[in-house]
């Protein structure tokens, strides 16, 4: 498979989106979350790294996916106020007692 990684014969500079229509790019795209989550075997990681080194668009795409995941991971969420926490507790116990 390694010899099929080069998808741009004749030029090192790919036309931006055409590359992604190629089979290798789509194959890499399918595995990017697993790659980011470190779930792939060393051999597959190596194949992906080789492709990324050769395909700037996939590299940019991976970066953008990594940033997206980090934003989700760090998105703070509001917390409940003391007052709401107590009010909710009362509501729950009231509902539990009436059923």
């Amino acid at each position: 498979m390694a010899d099929r990684v080069r998808t741009y014969p004749g030029t090192r500079k790919p036309t931006p989106h055409q590359g992604h229509r190629k089979r290798n790019c789509v194959k890499v795209l399918e595995r990017l979350s697993a790659y980011l989550d470190d779930e792939l075997s060393g051999e597959i990681c190596q194949e992906i790294r080789a492709h990324l080194g050769d395909c700037p668009n996939c590299e940019i795409f991976l970066d953008s996916l990594r940033q997206t995941v980090r934003l989700c991971q760090h998105r703070p969420s509001p917390s409940l106020s003391e007052k709401d926490r107590a009010a909710l507790r009362r509501e729950i116990l009231k509902a539990a007692a009436t059923v």
């Binding site: 989106h17 399918e30 668009n57 970066d63 409940l80 507790r89």
Partner: protein, 210 residues
């Protein structure tokens, strides 16, 4: 009945004991209400719906408490109850169509769509998220996700649970969780790389600055 093995403890509708006879409830509530509210807020995207979901979750947990066997962590059990309650509540409110996401729709078709169209250069995610516009854009993207994908993204990437744990909560295989997670991430990524986003972002920032 066949689903009983995989599902979280059944929630009895029958006569429950009175709250006064159930001292563990307060401890359960105290220990987990903040986590459950955070989870509910992330799923619902707003405070009132999140409070309804928390109420439903603890009410169901209270009723099913005797049946909790302790073979899962309490938090996993509560996440499962909350996830089921969320699905039921949403179904009641509106028949939200469950769209399937296919990988092919996430393949960029033009040059501008490979990178994110939001300003993050040199910033940590925490710093970037101090920006209100960015938070709103991210929230909007997550809210647009079909529910079953949002559920997995929230549990995995926001609540930080393992794929195995999320599988137990939702009654799905790890493989299915990973597949949904990937599609969910690609969906959010695509939203954040939308062509009009940069203009929208800068326009909003300019408005705020003025």
């Amino acid at each position: 009945m066949a689903s009983r093995k995989k599902s979280p403890p059944a929630l009895p509708d029958g006569p429950g004991s009175s709250p006064a006879t159930s001292p563990p409830f307060d401890q359960l509530y105290r220990d987990h209400v903040d986590v459950m509210y955070r989870f509910a807020y992330r799923l619902c995207g707003e405070a009132e719906a999140a409070k309804d979901l928390v109420q439903e979750t603890f009410l169901n947990a209270y009723r099913a408490y005797d049946r909790f066997r302790g073979d899962a962590r309490v938090s996993t059990w509560l996440y499962a109850i909350a996830s089921h309650a969320c699905q039921r509540m949403r179904r009641k409110r509106k028949g939200e169509p469950e769209r399937e996401l296919s990988l092919t729709e996430f393949v960029p078709t033009s040059e501008g769509e490979f990178a994110l169209q939001i300003p993050m250069e040199g910033l940590s995610p925490q710093q970037a998220l101090e920006n209100k516009e960015l938070r709103e854009i991210l929230d909007r993207a997550i809210a647009k996700l079909p529910r079953k994908y949002r559920m997995v993204l929230v549990l995995r990437d926001m609540e930080g649970l393992s794929a195995k744990e999320v599988g137990n909560i939702l009654g799905l295989s790890e493989r299915a969780i990973k597949s949904r997670l990937h599609r969910a991430r690609l969906f959010v990524r695509k939203e954040l790389s939308g062509k009009g986003l940069a203009e929208e972002f800068h326009r909003d920032v300019a408005t705020v600055d003025r």
